[in-house]
């Protein structure tokens, strides 16, 4: 009789389902227990009344007022005539706008960089990739403050520009939206570079030469050959940058001096000094849903295109 391990292995080899189960179960288990369940806790919290001291009122009182409050900021008893019901929606839209700009910038900068890296020798490639990641092994707070110093009015960057007479006055790169954009791009660029690289590295560059042989110019070859074939990497980069940036708040807070309010700041405050957990949870779920729907929709259409190729 063959030992039990060999028999299990045989079973695995034969049964497709067993293989699938084996591959899938650790991930599914982990996420289910340590993610989905805690998340359900939060979902519950979003549908009850807030407690006076943070947390929730016990015994639990079910209500949808937190969700209502997001869509109509004037729904609570404390609003006056000048209240703008779209207050929270506007903040969310603004955050999405900033996130889109950051994502676009990260893609625009990251794609050429990933391309550049993938064209180097194997040894150089790995080193360059590591070099992209290394700054992020220092602490992000320290890094952000260091970036702030570089961009300050009397900082290195402005001094450099002034000395070279490229500008007459120091550029205002902090305490405004520009600072937020710079800080976020600085923080999320590697999130774009890595997946882009993973895809570009696989790309068969002789296809580009073939396209040239057939008379296509650079731009055409890029848009019609290279980009579609590296689309999975682009989509991955897009998701990995846009999604966390929408909810970011520490970096925007530091770089804008507390002047640019993003949805992340608002949510964080509900779990902090404003002690309104249900509202914070409700906003988080709304944000999650909207972003998730957008991402899945984009993914589906992206993969359809890819299959059509």
């Amino acid at each position: 009789m063959a030992p039990i391990t060999t028999r299990i292995a045989e079973g695995f080899r034969r049964s497709r389902n067993a293989r699938l189960f084996g591959l899938l179960s650790p991930g599914a288990f982990w996420l289910l227990v340590f993610f989905t369940v805690p998340l359900l806790f939060m979902l519950l919290i979003s549908f009850v009344e807030k407690g006076r001291a943070g947390g929730v009122k016990v015994p639990l009182q079910v209500t949808a007022e937190s969700y209502l409050q997001f869509f109509n900021a004037c729904s609570s008893e404390f609003s006056g005539p000048d209240c703008n019901p779209l207050l929270y929606i506007n903040i969310f839209a603004n955050s999405a706008r900033i996130a889109l700009i950051v994502t676009a910038l990260c893609l625009a900068l990251g794609y050429p960089l990933a391309y550049f890296i993938s064209r180097q020798s194997v040894r150089s490639r790995n080193i360059l990739l590591l070099l992209v990641m290394i700054p992020f092994w220092t602490n992000f707070l320290v890094r952000t403050y260091a970036l702030k110093q570089v961009l300050a009015e009397s900082g290195l960057f402005n001094t450099f520009l002034l000395d070279l007479r490229l500008v007459n006055q120091p550029l205002e790169l902090l305490f405004n939206e520009t600072g937020v954009l710079l800080g976020l791009v600085y923080g999320y660029l590697p999130f774009a570079v890595l997946p882009l690289y993973a895809s570009i590295e696989k790309f068969d560059f002789s296809l580009m030469e073939a396209a040239a042989d057939l008379g296509a110019n650079n731009r055409r070859a890029f848009w019609r050959i290279m980009l579609p074939m590296t689309l999975p990497g682009v989509v991955a980069a897009l998701v990995l940058v846009f999604v966390p940036v929408v909810g970011a708040f520490v970096t925007p807070d530091i770089m804008s001096g507390g002047k640019v309010e993003m949805i992340g700041t608002l949510i964080a405050r509900q779990f902090g000094s404003s002690r309104n957990w249900p509202f914070g949870s409700a906003m988080s779920f709304i944000m999650m849903l909207l972003v998730l729907v957008g991402v899945v929709y984009y993914l589906r259409s992206g993969s359809k295109e890819e299959r059509a190729l």
């Binding site: 404390f78 009015e153 507390g258 309010e261």
Partner: protein
């Protein structure tokens, strides 16, 4: 023969134990030192102190361990709400916590605090009268005041040699100040500052008054460089701001070259009103070592210990008896220890209950209007 040996052993043991009780004291009046440790037989081996960052002289923890044989493990939080969340989630293995005023009243309501046994903490009598029996702990049952401070204005005297003691400096700034102001990034503090400047109370919940305050803040915003509660001291040290909304302890460090600051930064407490906050030592209901915790609290309220702590931390001490031991130069500094009439200007932030939602919305509207 055996009896003699036994006798000798007993004598030696007695001598040795007598030496040990005397040993911790290298100072004259050794018994006082041991008394600071309460009943040693009831002491635990270690306690956990959940505290604000850099809010205790590190040497004190070692001193307590040397004197009383109890190890103090410290872990930190950065806000009252984090502290509250941890306690409410049942995550507590904390023996001592240091909540601020308004948080004490919340925790008392939520039955999170253990009533203190003042037989173990006789040093409560050392605390100054101003600091006890405040609205958040009216019968002084649950806390022992630790440090207090104000949220006043730090001013660069090179630019403003003779600062006016008023919020006017930031709400109606002169041209050389505009663009170089920092305010605290906190709804209650900054909206509160606007409220007080307009003549209202810092705990006002009237919508019309808050809307007024909001308009004032929106108008002020273009002259404000940053809303910052963390690095506002660095900003004024480097000259990026000229007037900063700062807590007392941050100013103490910022105005002292020995601690990385620089000279020439004054501190004013505006005449229209100013926040006073007080952090208090308390013992959570879930604390595993309540007796030892209270002994440590008593230790920290000892006049000499409190003085040593105050000099290290930089915040004013509510411990009146400690004044004997604090450097007279520090005591004379009216920015740290303001005179009676200035103390009357100070207003406590009280919990406004459900109206906190109103403050949050006002603050959100304000932030959205200036940057979003």
């Amino acid at each position: 023969m055996k009896k003699q040996w036994l006798f000798a052993v007993v004598i030696v043991a007695m001598i040795v134990s007598a030496c040990q009780t005397a040993a911790p004291t290298t100072e004259p009046g050794g018994e006082v030192v041991s008394e600071r440790c309460g009943d040693k037989s009831q002491l635990a081996k270690e306690i956990t102190l959940y505290n604000w960052v850099e809010y205790i002289d590190p040497a004190l923890k070692e001193q307590f361990e040397a004197e009383c044989g109890v190890k103090v493990i410290e872990t930190n939080y950065d806000s009252n709400e984090t502290l509250l969340a941890q306690l409410q989630a049942g995550a507590g293995t904390y023996d001592i916590i240091v909540p601020s005023d308004y948080m004490v009243s919340i925790m008392v309501d939520e039955n999170l605090l253990e009533p203190l046994d003042f037989n173990v903490i006789p040093n409560i009598k050392n605390i100054g009268a101003f600091h006890v029996n405040q609205p958040f702990d009216p019968e002084q049952k649950y806390t022992v005041p630790y440090f207090w401070g104000a949220s006043g204005l730090a001013v660069d005297t090179k630019v403003i040699p003779d600062p006016e003691e008023s919020w006017k400096m930031v709400f109606e700034p002169s041209p050389e100040v505009c663009g170089k102001i920092s305010m605290l990034d906190d709804a209650r503090e900054t909206v509160g500052a606007a409220l007080m400047y307009l003549g209202y109370s810092i705990n006002d919940t009237d919508l019309a008054h808050l809307e007024e305050a909001k308009e004032l803040l929106i108008q002020q915003a273009e002259c404000v460089r940053s809303y910052d509660s963390q690095t506002n001291d660095d900003l004024i040290i480097t000259g990026e701001t000229v007037v900063g909304h700062l807590w007392t302890g941050d100013w103490t460090l910022a105005s002292n070259p020995d601690t990385g600051g620089r000279e020439g930064i004054a501190y004013v407490i505006p005449k229209e009103g100013c926040t006073i906050f007080q952090d208090n030592m308390a013992v959570p209901v879930s604390a595993p070592n309540k007796y030892t915790a209270m002994v440590f609290i008593n230790y920290l309220a000892d006049p000499e210990i409190a003085a040593q702590n105050a000099e290290a931390v930089g915040y004013p001490s509510p411990n009146a008896a400690a004044r004997e031991f604090i450097d007279p130069e520090i005591l004379a500094n009216e920015s740290i220890y303001p005179p009676e009439d200035v103390m009357q200007r100070l207003q406590w932030i009280e919990d406004v209950g459900p109206a906190l939602e109103l403050y949050d919305r006002i603050w959100t509207e304000f932030k959205a209007a200036i940057g979003g």
